[in-house]
Symmetry: C2
Subunit: 125 residues, 2 copies
DNA sequence: CCGTACGTAGCAGTGATGGTTACTTTTGCC
DNA sequence: GGCAAAAGTAACCATCACTGCTACGTACGG
């Protein structure tokens, strides 16, 4: 959570972030790369480089982050084809994808209700 | 979907279900075993054995199925501990689990709105 | 008692993820 | 211009979960 270092440090290196998450700097660069492609984070390179927020923390929702780092469909159908000779096998997929989409939408709506700023405020409270 | 064979066949063997899902009988037995432990399906053994619904299809929601077969938390925290020297690292987990629970609840509520009977009706429509 | 089909263990193949190392590229500073 | 710092990225390995398969134990009807 990038905003916490708006108390002095304008940018954070991947090493610093990795230390605070107890993981590897490369993992951080990979994840922040996703957020950067989604336009929520800026990366400066070269000497004195590091990451900073590209948008205000009040304008970044959990949903934004979720979409940037999780391309997977949350509910996946069985990989293989069902047996098309069975009447259920033929018709089940559109119905299930429909229901999946519905459930996924409510899930996303819940994520969209919280911004990074909200979360930070609740952490510091 | 077990109800479709209430047009004659009282029980289905794992082999028959596997054929209709284009998968292996053992996989079916494992999955239906979960549903059986959750009380939604009955299994008869011995000669002429097979599976049948333990409750009416109108009394089985997608949420029931989901809970029976998916014990995973849908949104998992990072496995490792965050750095506890960072103020954000210390406080973030309760906040995130809270938000995760909230989103997961709305997701489950959406699943609870559909029963197996509903799905079957939509398939045959 | 015998055959059928569930229950379950064990194993190989696959794919996703995390972690590490190493190398390239960019860029500020001297 | 050259050096050093740090992002970007590729390659590789370990781990884990899941599917699919074989095989065997177990319950139960005829």
């Amino acid at each position: 959570m990038e905003l916490a270092r708006r108390r002095g440090h304008e940018v954070l290196t991947s090493e610093e972030v990795a230390a605070s998450v107890n993981t590897n700097a490369v993992i951080v660069r990979r994840s922040l790369g996703d957020l950067q492609r989604a336009g929520m984070v800026r990366a400066r390179r070269g000497n004195g480089a590091g990451y900073s927020l590209a948008r205000s923390a009040t304008e970044i929702t959990l949903l934004d982050v979720w979409l940037a780092v999780a391309p997977e469909p949350l509910l996946a159908l069985h990989h293989g084809e069902p047996n098309l000779e069975c009447p259920v096998g033929r018709g089940i997929r559109p119905v299930l994808t429909d229901l999946y989409d519905e459930a996924t939408d409510t899930f996303r709506a819940a994520l969209a209700r919280s911004t990074v700023a909200d979360i930070l405020q609740r952490i510091l409270a």
